[in-house]
């Protein structure tokens, strides 16, 4: 049996990669994908904890996160397309109208 700490380590690595992607990348598409990665990192932790504790709630939470993530991806991609049609760019550093 694989130790729970290994699952948590995997979860942390996935989440960390996602965070770096969100903070560092300029392409919105990549940022959205990174967000998915962070969510899935968390999913791993949920499922592992649920399995370790013998509690179904962990799995339930994971499914709920996936549902929300799917919705988020749909809305996010729609916004992205609308934005691209308007600005002809997906570079987030170009989109800084919302400031003082």
């Amino acid at each position: 049996m694989i130790a729970p700490s290994a699952y948590l380590l995997l979860s942390a690595i996935l989440f960390g990669i996602g965070v770096v992607g969100v903070v560092a990348r300029k392409n919105i598409l990549i940022i959205l994908m990174s967000v998915e990665l962070m969510l899935n990192g968390v999913n791993v932790a949920f499922v592992a904890a649920g399995s370790y504790l013998g509690d179904a709630a962990g799995g339930v939470f994971a499914f709920m996160v996936m549902t929300v993530a799917a919705a988020e991806a749909a809305v996010g991609l729609a916004l992205l397309i609308a934005l691209y049609r308007l600005k002809e760019t997906v570079d987030i550093t170009e989109l800084k109208v919302l400031k003082w």
Binding site: V19, V22, V23, A24, K26, I92, T93, L95, K96, V97, L98, K99, W100
Partner: protein
């Protein structure tokens, strides 16, 4: 206990208040739109704009005929009925109340009607209550009686005035405030009336507010009065602090007790009374605050008669007499009151000699006569002061109304140098004014003689008096006789110096004006007969009537009582009387010589002593001195405070706070750079810090 008519005492001030409400509604809802329309001004809002040009022609035509026989709008007739009507009704009620009071025994002549509890805060209990006693009944009768006559007179005098209803609103409001002043049973309610009459005085002096001098005079009166009012306020605080009450009866009842227990020291009484007297100098135009009264002549003449001669300016005398129990405890204050009264009497009398404006002569005469009343108060002769107050109300109101009739006849001319020979044009006015002049000069048999001589005698014989005060007052009486006859000779006798155009229109006034003159003339003659002193075989009813108010006071100061009992021989009293009459006759004779026989002489004298004439003509440069010594200083200090304190300090705090916020905002706004990555990093940093903190806490525990 059944009080009969006295239970309706509240009607006395309430009736003029009803007049204020009714006339006020007319003034606001009928007259104001009417006048605005006439002037071609739009009503409030945009509706009138379209009518403007259409009504212009209408307005111009009615202006053209304003002096002739333009049709009287119906509302003016209503106002002319309501305004004197309510005051006349108040007079009738007051008269019935006083008669009912007089039917009681002498020691039971204090009737208090509590209307409602007004202020209840801690130990301060002030009811809204009216008090009718011999003193306030005299005041109430003078105020409503003379007030009614002047209201009737005003209907005629103001007949050419556009803002007819507004005038009578103010006049009714004045009657209400004055009646509250004299009928109040405590200092605070009196102060409400005191301020109310000040307000009405301001409104009526500045009645023709489009004239710069009129609105300035209103302001001057208001400010001068305010200086006095602060004295009254402080005095009220001290009275409450000392006596724990502001109600007259309670305060005066506690005087002997607190005197014995040492709480009410002579020093405290002196401070209270001096502060009260400061208020009196403001309201009653005494040195040093008299300067507003001559300027107050900018108001309509009936206003000068009612407010600035007969009633409001006597409020100070009334208050001093009302507080006589306190004043008698403070000999220093009494001396101050007597000296200020005597000095004011002679000082303003000398100014009156050189004035050429008919109303200003009368104004200085009023200041001078008020000085007499304070002299009487100062020597402890409060009865004489109130007696003179009453007779003065009659003859001075008559003089003012007469001068108003002259001014009316001459289409607004007030300069006596442009009058003369008016006797044949305005015979009724001349006859009545001549009676009043004889009365004020102190010719035996007329009202002024009895009251003035009472004061002179008291100034000489009372324990507070002295021959010196008598001398000043007698000399002032001579000067009074001189300048009053100068006024009469210049106005009614000799050759006409009128503008021919004006002379053509000179006419006797309508009956609404002459009838009040005639009634006042009768009162000026007979008003003094209720106070004929015992030495002339009279019974001095007036003194007996007021005795319950002032007599317990005299009993309290037993030491003074013994002194006052020193009997002066009747021959001395008669002799002094004859002497003062002789002085008055000298004044009249001098006036006759200078203004009838040798008419060129006054100008010669003026040329002979140019400096003296100049100083007196310019009223001793008192206004200029105040301007330099007080007003200029206050303006300098105010500008200094404005620049140093207000602009630098206060504004500095406010602007500093704004600068601080802006500088901070300038720094903080850079956080919102618009770069999404930056926001995401902030989120991350926040999350890391939060999680780190939670972990740290759990590890520590």
């Amino acid at each position: 206990m059944v009080n009969g008519i006295l239970d309706y005492l509240w009607l006395v001030p309430a009736l003029p208040l009803l007049g204020v409400v009714l006339n006020g509604a007319i003034a606001l809802l009928v007259e104001r739109p009417f006048l605005l329309k006439e002037a071609g001004l739009p009503l409030a809002g945009g509706h009138g704009a379209g009518h403007g040009s259409h009504d212009d022609a209408h307005g111009a035509s009615s202006h053209g005929s304003a002096h002739g026989h333009h049709e009287t709008p119906a509302y003016r007739k209503l106002v002319a009925f309501i305004a004197p009507g309510v005051v006349g009704a108040a007079f009738v009620v007051a008269l019935l109340c006083v008669l009912s009071l007089a039917s009681r025994p002498a020691d039971g002549r204090t009737f208090v009607q509590i209307l409602f509890p007004w202020i209840q805060a801690g130990s301060l209990l002030v009811p809204a209550a009216l008090q009718l006693d011999p003193l306030s009944s005299v005041m109430a009768l003078v105020v409503t009686g003379v007030g009614f006559l002047i209201h009737v007179y005003s209907v005629g005098y103001m007949s050419h005035e556009r803002a007819f209803a507004r005038y009578f609103v103010f006049l009714n409001l004045f009657m209400f405030a004055m009646l509250i002043l004299v009928l109040a049973n405590n200092y605070l309610l009196m102060f409400v009336g005191w301020e109310g009459v000040g307000l009405c005085s301001y409104l009526l002096i500045g009645f023709w507010y489009e004239k710069q001098s009129a609105s300035d005079a209103g302001k001057k009166a208001f400010v001068a009065n305010r200086i006095g009012d602060f004295g009254v306020l402080l005095a009220m605080f001290l009275v409450f602090w000392t006596f724990g009450s502001l109600t007259y009866t309670e305060v005066f009842a506690k005087v002997p007790l607190l005197r014995e227990s040492g709480v009410l020291t002579t020093g405290l009484a002196t401070v209270i009374t001096l502060l009260l007297f400061l208020g009196a100098t403001g309201k009653s135009a005494q040195i040093p605050l008299y300067v507003w009264l001559p300027d107050a002549m900018e108001g309509p003449t009936p206003v000068s008669a009612l407010i600035h001669a007969a009633t409001m300016v006597t409020a100070g005398v009334y208050m001093v007499a009302r507080s006589s129990a306190l004043f008698l405890l403070a000999p220093d204050t009494m001396m101050v009151v007597a000296v200020i009264g005597a000095v004011t009497a002679i000082f303003s009398a000398t100014i009156g000699i050189c004035q050429t404006d008919i109303k200003r002569v009368l104004a200085y005469s009023t200041v001078s006569q008020l000085g007499y009343m304070f002299l009487a108060c100062g020597v402890g002769a409060f009865t004489a002061a109130i007696f003179h107050l009453m007779t003065h109300a009659f003859f001075k109101a008559l003089l003012f109304l007469g001068s108003g009739s002259v001014i009316h006849a001459l289409s607004g001319e007030q300069d006596m140098q442009k009058m003369g020979g008016l006797k044949k044009y305005v015979p009724v006015t001349f006859a009545t004014m001549f009676v009043a002049t004889l009365a004020i000069a102190g010719i035996p048999g007329l009202s002024g003689f009895f009251s003035k001589d009472e004061i002179l005698w008291q100034a000489f014989s009372s324990s507070h008096g002295s021959p010196f005060l008598w001398g000043i007052a007698a000399l002032a009486a001579g000067i009074t006789a001189f300048y009053m006859f100068r006024l009469v000779f210049l106005t009614f006798f000799g050759k006409s110096r009128m503008d021919p155009e004006v002379e053509k229109h000179a006419h006797e006034s309508p009956w609404t004006m002459t009838v009040p003159l005639m009634i006042l003339a009768v009162l000026s003659v007979a008003g003094g007969w209720i106070g004929i002193p015992a030495v002339l075989g009279g019974s001095n009813l007036f003194e007996h009537w007021l005795a319950p108010v002032f007599h317990p006071v005299a009993a309290a100061g037993a030491a003074h009582g013994a002194e006052a009992a020193v009997h002066h021989p009747a021959a001395l009293e008669i002799g002094l009387m004859a002497l003062s009459v002789a002085i008055a006759l000298c004044g009249i004779g001098l006036a006759y010589f200078l203004y009838r026989v040798r008419t060129g002489k006054p100008a010669e004298i003026a040329k002979q002593w140019p400096t003296l004439y100049d100083v007196v003509y310019h009223k001793y440069y008192i206004d200029e001195f105040y301007e330099w010594a007080v007003i200029r200083r206050i303006v300098t200090i105010s500008i200094g405070l404005w620049e140093m304190f207000d602009a630098l300090f206060i504004d500095g705090i406010v602007n500093g706070a704004a600068d601080l916020v802006r500088a901070a905002g300038d720094r903080v706004r850079r956080l919102q750079g618009g770069v999404v990555g930056g926001y995401a990093f902030s989120l991350l940093a926040g999350a890391v810090l939060l999680v780190g903190y939670i972990l740290y806490r759990s590890v520590v525990q």
